[in-house]
Amino acid sequence: MSWFKRIKKGITTPTKEKKETPDGLWFKSPSGNIIESSELKKNHYVVPSDGFHKRIGSAEYFEILFDDNEFEELNANMTSADPLNFSDTKKYKDRLEATRKKTNLKDAVRTAHGKVNGEDLVVAAMDFAFIGGSMGSVVGEKLARAIDYSLNNKIPIMIISKSGGARMMEAAFSLMQLAKTSAKLSLLGKAKVPYISYITDPTTGGVTASFAMLGDINMAEPGALIGFAGPRVIRETIKADLPEGFQTSEFLLEKGFVDFIVDRRNLKEKMTQVLRMFKN
């Protein structure tokens, strides 16, 4: 069995001759299924073999929902100020600047008006890539204005939540955005303009405790983490492990907090049906 014996020790290929798979060509889901990136995109970023929903941002959601990817973005240039001159291990100003450069986004939500299979819809989609999708003054104000727009033009609104909660670096200003968005939704409700909440992975904290839970219809993406307190905080508080499937979309459906779960691949068709139900 000498052909099993290793003659030369260690790795002998020089680094410069090493062959690497270029980044981004393949995507591997948590259960190990692999898909080509271009295929994944065609599939709305869902891994076909196991249904895993890869986290995506506002650009992808707009493309999935709006006809021919045509839309008018609202308040596109609003950016965060630093009202508290906040600094932890890093200055908030620098963090914002670096995040803007890295993500090419202005803040953690984008709002737009477009058509979904011919029907008008205002869509607000959150970007988790921007400081964990956290809600500070900009997110609150852009949502407030999108709701105003929806109210003034009598166009239904859909908010796609994806956020760790309120943004700590704006402290109480962030907290009050929960109140602001809820106040606007109260006005929208009185005007009987439909609001559809689509809750995606992950949605926790102040976003769950405000607009995410306030839809006339609450829909969730499969397998998303949705909760008020984060799992780590709960584990530390109760000093015990959490049950399997706790705080998932399916758990919330079972407990009665979402109306149904929508696979992203059916999102556009489902929204068309929802809009039709309100309209006719």
Partner: protein
Amino acid sequence: MPAYLDFEKPIAELEEQLDQAKQIEEKGKVDASQTIAELKKKITKTKKEIYNNLTAWQKVQVSRHPERPYTLDYIETMTNGDFLELHGDRNVRDDKAIVGGFGNVSGRTLMIIGQQKGINTKMRQYRNFGMANPEGYRKALRLMHLANKFNKPIVTLIDTPGAYPGIEAEERGQGEAIARNLKEMFEIEVPIITVIVGEGASGGALGIGIGDRVFMLENTWYSVISPESCSSILWRSWDHKEEAAEALKLTATDMLGNKLIDFIIKEPPGGAHSNKPEIIRRVKKEILASIEELEQLSSEERIQQRIDKYCAMGVYNE
């Protein structure tokens, strides 16, 4: 034995001297009245000095002082015992961390609702440390609708380290319960007065805190997160709570400066716990004055002003 915070040590020492002087006078029949008077003067002066220069973190400590008046103390004194406590959310159970009911305040029926902390170890557990479950927020909302129906002004007293983060709380929709309160408090037609009497931690506080007038007592805090949790998340250690307390701008002065609350109620020198009847008297006075003022408006005007006030909060560039 009264409890003293670490920075109150000079006060504690003087109080001890005062006790001794009093004992000497009683036992030895020596006239110590002059010493006693001087000590009393000195105590007041020291209290003022210390309490006029509290850091943000020290104020957080005062807000959690074990002898600080809690919601039921305010209710008991303001109503002179004429309080009808109402229990339960009519769905799951009665949450002991939030109390509420009709109270007679100077001849007027008010709906008073607030988080309640326990006064000793056993009661702290019973009250779940003032951390409400969803049924607590739902009870609060039920009582607000009741008040609205019978045109009784609402007073909410806030003192919570946060909404409870537990398995059952999540199962019963902690997020949904708070969200619904936020939205529906903007639809309540009667005046709503909110007073932060202790800790105002995040969504757990705001969940009963949408007010036409929002007051903070001088030595309380109100923010999106506690300084300890902020430190553990942003600095990845509990050691930066003092820095976090400064950075969060969570004191009454900061909150007023940022126009996130409407008024500050001054505490007696030495903090609310050093003179409970006085702080409760001040709170009662402000509540009644605010109600009178708010009743000059129609319910539509009140709701519009309430909405406009919160919608103006936030700082951004465009």
